[in-house]
Subunit: 142 residues, 2 copies
DNA sequence: TCACAGTTTAGAATCATTCTAATCCCGTTG
DNA sequence: CAACGGGATTAGAATGATTCTAAACTGTGA
């Protein structure tokens, strides 16, 4: 206990990632980035991540978690997934892919980008261009 | 002014639709159903529909609009569309189809069901079955 | 080390939506 | 046709996620 960032090695990777993204590596951002990017393909909500970081004994306000999630998203480190009217999810996988969504448990599962093919998307109405195509496979317990 | 439901002919169609759905045709529900199903392929939010019915000089509370939208959805008369974290949309087209969504203006546009083909959806994890596949084509002004 | 612009934060504020409990009214019964 | 009973409506409070505000704090370049 009482280990510093340097001692745990937490800082290095996360700090570099933040600097690359043009974000000042503050204690809170480094802490959150460490949690988010330690493992791959994570799906978190603000509340969710706040509990996690708090549970790890680190003091970060919920407002900062919201701010940080949005900043990471703008910086291209995260992607926001809209599948539930009740809350927003953030996905550490920013590449081309889709999702299974189990609403009853708020669970998201990645589907690799090459797996699903969407054909026949019509040209959008005049004056509009396609930003991206989202596919959500809604599932339920059998 | 001062026309009754019978005189305007509003009641008949909407009333029948409500009865079929097993919903008691109250003044508010008939009024809302008339607005919703007068034209095809409408996309409304609760606030949205409340303004419309209020603007038409009919007094319906926002709570009732919410209740009614959910009841209509459960009865299969409407379908809820989740594309925006900020609010819920309800679609009078309950058939198989997808959407263009212009977030900046909260505008939804139907894409007929046969138009888009989604191939390669993997089998869901054990214990889960597919409920439905939603495709949202997010567009922006050019 | 200093200063300052960018950050964090507690708490208030906001927004959509839901809940509550009282009142109302549709449809049936007598 | 009036009474009744249970579903429906409603105003207003409550909720829950998210955002805002204004003050306190902290990386970072000089």
């Amino acid at each position: 206990m009482g280990k510093t960032l340097r001692e745990t090695g937490k800082g290095t990777a996360a700090t570099a990632k933040l600097r690359h993204a043009g974000l000042r590596p503050t204690r809170q951002r480094v802490e959150l980035a460490s949690l988010l990017f330690k493992s791959c393909d994570r799906h978190v909500t603000a509340e969710n991540l706040h509990d996690e970081v708090t549970g790890a004994g680190v003091k970060v306000s919920l407002a900062t978690v919201y701010n940080t999630l949005h900043q990471f998203t703008e910086a291209g480190l995260l992607r926001q997934v809209i599948v539930d009217a009740a809350r927003s999810y953030f996905d550490t996988n920013t590449g081309d892919h889709q999702h299974f969504f189990l609403e009853s448990e708020g669970m998201l599962i990645d589907i690799p980008g090459e797996t699903i093919a969407v054909a026949g998307v019509p040209a959008p109405p005049a004056g509009l261009s396609i930003d991206r195509v989202d596919v959500v496979v809604r599932v339920k317990r059998t």
